[in-house]
């Protein structure tokens, strides 16, 4: 690991100022991914700005019924939070489906969103990777890519985003709140991560120097039935081969609100807008769910060794939607 300066920030302003003053700086949250990438030589920051002691460790119930989650709230604490468990169950379930107890105790909300892909070519500095080193090519395209993307990938990059939490946030219409040199702004969680296109080195829409300060869960999806389901190679402690988060509200015999997102299939949590559009106003029947999910997955372009992900994701989505729907109509 290369030497680096260390700064412990006491306020958001101190953190963003320290970042601006030190070229090559990185914000440090729980470090469960960043420190690992530093050991691997993938990340070589000149300075770490430790943001774990910022006053962003609270979960606040808002007057409008929403919930603001501070960026340094640990994944384990967020998963156990009574309001999250009660009103946004898909988020709690997604967090608990990820990593291990030890890692969830360290990992933060902001850091979870900014974790990098676990593509083995990205993590191995001896291999070509356009995400790590633009222009060197993609080792996975013709290499080992059973775990890689089937939706929205490009010639340059076929990596998937590893977060479970982010998939639930996308389905729940959460927003990511940011503070940077140009002030505060917020971005829908479903648009926070990017598709690779010609610039796979850019994972998210975050601007240089911006810090995630919180995640906002809207009142509109609070208290609605929601679920997360994940398929992986072993029963626990593995990344998703495919996963699904969904929130579904039915009234007057039809779907009135639906949020559906896939994990493990793309460079970002894949919000299934086509499926949602097909479901709004339709009766929540098994046939309607099949039609909608098939519409969405028609866009899939599997690679040589990962075609299994399409039927896997289909079955996961149908299971989750079926469990969320009023039993009488299935």
């Amino acid at each position: 690991m290369k030497p680096f300066a260390y700064v412990r920030a006491g306020s958001v302003e101190e953190a963003t100022d320290a970042f601006a003053a030190r070229p090559g700086a990185r914000y440090l949250g729980g470090g469960t991914n960043l420190v690992d990438l530093m050991k691997l030589g993938v990340e070589t920051p000149a300075a770490l700005i430790d943001v774990t002691r910022l006053p962003l460790d609270g979960v606040e119930e808002l007057p409008d019924g929403g919930l603001r989650v501070g960026a340094t709230v640990r994944n384990s604490d967020l998963a156990a939070h009574p309001v999250v468990r009660d009103r946004y169950p898909a988020l709690s379930q997604a967090l608990l489906a990820g990593a291990s107890g030890q890692l969830r105790n360290a990992a933060t909300t902001g850091g979870n969103l900014l974790q990098r892909t676990r593509c083995p070519y990205f993590q191995d500095v001896t291999k070509p990777c356009n995400k790590r080193e633009p222009g060197t090519g993609c080792g996975a395209l013709e290499g080992v890519h059973r775990d890689h993307a089937v939706l929205g990938h490009s010639e340059r990059c076929i990596a998937t985003h590893p977060s479970d939490m982010a998939v639930a946030l996308a389905a729940l219409d959460a927003r990511v709140e940011l503070r940077g040199p140009e002030g505060a702004r917020s971005v829908p969680a479903a648009d926070f991560h990017r598709l690779p296109g010609t610039r796979p080195e850019k994972d998210t829409e975050i601007h240089p120097g911006e810090l995630i300060t919180s995640v906002l869960l809207p009142a509109a999806t609070g208290g609605l039935p929601s679920r997360y389901r994940k398929a992986r190679d072993r029963a626990s402690y593995a990344f998703a081969l495919a996963s699904v988060a969904a929130v579904l509200h039915c009234g007057n015999g039809v779907v009135e609100r639906v949020g559906l997102a896939f994990g493990g299939l793309a460079h970002r949590p894949w919000r299934a807008r086509r499926a949602e559009d097909a479901l709004i106003g339709a009766a929540p029947t098994a046939a309607a769910f099949e039609h909608a999910v098939d519409l969405e997955l028609a866009a899939a372009e599997p690679l040589r060794d990962n075609a299994y992900k399409v039927p896997l994701a289909r079955r996961l989505a149908l299971d989750v939607l079926g469990r969320l729907a009023p039993a009488a109509q299935l």
């Binding site: 700064v7 412990r8 440090l28 470090g31 690992d36 998963a79 156990a80 291990s100 107890g101 030890q102």
Partner: protein, 185 residues
């Protein structure tokens, strides 16, 4: 903002060490910590506490698990400089005053819950974290979502297996590890 710009005696242009105080098993230690030092290496190399083991060194095996401020974490991924003021408990510090061994350590012996023993310190620290988390009502992936928030979660066999999934045992002693944890609940 705490300033950590003191340049070390190595002559680097960049500051690369920071005085850091940790309490380890109840005893305070102040060290000039190289910013690159992870807690696991500090414990083993600087303090001579070799109980916590280096397995994968990438947060994938759990052999390095210790308790920091009462919570189980992978010490291989925690930069020591970030832990100023923290209370660290390693396997060497599990037994209480007047005890040779913590009851969980005794249960591991009674159940023969290991073969080579390399993962055992991590299993012990992790299991103690599990007991505290379940008592505090933290759910797991296998907890029924209908379980009321905050109520202690009963540690069924399935719960123990899921909650300890971050600790690999390449000898495959899992059934007896779960037996030992059940013994101390």
């Amino acid at each position: 903002m705490d300033s950590h710009d003191r340049t070390a005696t190595t002559g680097h242009a960049q500051p690369d060490t920071t005085d850091t105080t940790l309490r380890v098993n109840g005893k305070p230690h102040t060290l000039a910590v190289d910013h690159r030092r992870v807690l696991l290496d500090l414990l083993r190399e600087d303090l001579g506490l070799t109980g916590a083991k280096k397995g994968c060194d990438h947060g994938q095996c759990g052999a390095c698990t210790v308790l920091v401020d009462g919570r189980r974490v992978n010490s291989c991924l925690l930069l020591a400089v970030t832990l100023d003021g923290a209370e660290v408990t390693t396997v060497e510090g599990l037994a209480g005053d007047g005890e040779d061994l913590h009851p969980l350590q005794r249960a591991f012996l009674d159940r023969d819950a290991f073969q080579c023993g390399y993962c055992t310190p991590g299993q012990l620290c992790s299991a103690l974290g599990v007991l505290a988390e379940a008592a505090a009502g933290h759910p797991s992936h296998v907890t029924d979502p209908a379980t009321p928030s905050g109520a202690p979660v009963p540690l069924t066999r399935e719960e123990i297996r899921e909650r300890l999934s971050g600790n690999l045992c390449r000898c495959g002693a899992y059934p007896r590890i779960a037996d030992a944890v059940e013994d101390v609940m």
